[in-house]
């Protein structure tokens, strides 16, 4: 019991700090880059751009995060591009996240319906103004609940970066196990730490869902 308090929990909590930092950093990249991609995708006439964005999204959404991270961390190192653990984690999860949020935003835009665009045209707004003042604010509002869900998922996915040596919760858990062999206690505690961290986030998502309506098809 003392061991738990003096060694295990501090170790896991140190890892938790990294978990949170990586989550926040990746989240920022994901929601901004994803939004940019979604907005660009609203212009249907530039076919090449549309294809490129679609390809980006499908590429990142149909390959496991672990695979992407290994490419970034181990693969690029072999051709001279060395990215260390935490940056690799943030870039990897951020790029994948942008693909996910892009789909979320696009669902948001889709949910608005053509009437909004027509009303904007009727008052003489340009396409850019329409997107800026009419569509985006509403699309973002609709997108908030699924984005909240994504954030929750992202926090769980940071556990994967332990595999590329990023010092987050699972990484600490594994190293403590090798020295103390208290597997049950350590891994249960790790699960508990994640669970506790997830509760406020899950609560926030529920509030978002109440305020901004149900889930879109992400």
């Amino acid at each position: 019991m003392e061991f738990w308090l003096s060694t295990i929990m501090p170790g896991l909590l140190t890892g938790a700090v990294v978990t949170v930092s990586v989550t926040v950093a990746s989240l920022l990249i994901a929601v901004t880059l994803g939004f940019g991609l979604a907005v660009l995708r609203q212009f249907p006439r530039v076919r090449l751009l549309n294809f490129a964005i679609d390809a980006y999204v499908e590429f990142f959404r149909n390959i496991p995060a672990l695979s992407h991270l290994f490419i970034l961390y181990f693969g690029l190192a072999a051709v001279g591009i060395k990215i260390t653990s935490i940056p690799a984690a943030i870039i990897g999860l951020g790029l994948i996240g942008a693909a996910v949020t892009c789909d979320i935003y696009r669902s948001g835009f889709l949910a608005l319906g053509i009437g909004q665009v027509e009303a904007a045209r009727a008052v003489g707004m340009t396409p850019v103004q329409t997107i800026r003042f009419i569509l985006s604010p509403q699309a973002i509002r609709v997108a908030l609940p699924p984005l909240g869900n994504y954030a929750l998922q992202l926090m769980k996915d940071t556990s994967i970066v332990s595999a590329i040596a990023a010092p987050e919760i699972m990484f600490y858990a594994r190293s403590m196990v090798t020295s103390s062999f208290q597997t049950t206690l350590i891994y249960s505690s790790a699960a508990m730490v994640y669970l506790l961290m997830s509760l406020p986030l899950a609560y926030a998502v529920t509030r978002l869902e109440h305020r901004f309506g149900g889930k879109a098809n992400a």
Binding site: S67, I71, G75, K156, I160, S188, A190
Partner: protein
């Protein structure tokens, strides 16, 4: 660029068979894990409508737990953690059980949403005609639910397939682990991991497209 592709040409016959065998393992744990998730998810989804408050709370607790704990932590807990209290799983079964339990929570949500999308009038018409509750569920409600949840079910399977890669971290010899082994043998991690990624893509992408198509059809038929 050609040099890059040339590497594949030279090693294809060495890497190909090994990665193919590993892919079979990935597929196996994914399918078995998904079957567990679907069955358990259906039970949980239906149990959320149970009359007993205890049952509903237990189900709620299950879903909250698996919504908040990462799949990787679950896998580690089952494979490395449980032996400490005497429950020992082999790597593959641990992966199947872990994936199944974790994704059951997601499937429960899918089933719940599907059931909720059926208008109350459908139940009422069936009950007025004299169908018993079990008959109503089987003949009237479930056929409609299947149509609605087809797309989300496929999406959940793709997610499970991707998370099956985590089994490599508990020593299951699936695609990613085989990729790592090859990478250390041949010192060509970039090429190998790209190939591994491509193999996942080849399975996941068609499924994702199928799900999108089904979703579009489901939305259209809602008129």
């Amino acid at each position: 660029m050609l040099e890059f592709l040339d590497v594949y040409a030279r090693h294809a016959d060495q890497w190909g068979p090994r990665l193919a065998d590993a892919a079979v393992v990935s597929a196996r744990i994914s399918i078995l894990g998904f079957m567990l998730a679907a069955v358990l998810g259906l039970i949980l989804g239906l149990a959320q409508e149970a009359r007993s408050r205890i049952v509903r709370t237990v189900v709620r607790g299950y879903i909250v737990f698996f919504r908040g704990v990462p799949v990787l932590a679950i896998l580690f807990l089952i494979y490395f953690g449980l032996p400490g209290v005497g429950i020992v799983f082999d790597a593959e079964p641990a992966a199947v059980v872990g994936l199944g339990l974790a994704f059951a929570a997601q499937m429960a949500e899918v089933f719940r949403a599907g059931l909720g999308a059926i208008p109350k009038g459908q139940w009422e018409a069936a009950m007025s005609a004299g169908f018993r509750p079990a008959q109503t569920l089987l003949l009237i409600i479930l056929p409609q639910v299947v149509r609605i949840i087809a797309a989300p079910v496929i999406v959940t399977f793709v997610a499970l397939l991707k998370d099956s890669s985590l089994a490599s971290l508990i020593t299951v010899n699936e695609l990613v682990l085989e990729g790592r082994a090859l990478a250390t043998e041949y010192f060509l991690p970039l090429h190998i991991y790209i190939w591994v990624g491509a193999m996942y893509f080849l399975i996941a992408f068609p499924l994702s497209m199928l799900a999108k198509y089904l979703a579009k059809r489901a939305r259209g038929a809602r008129a």
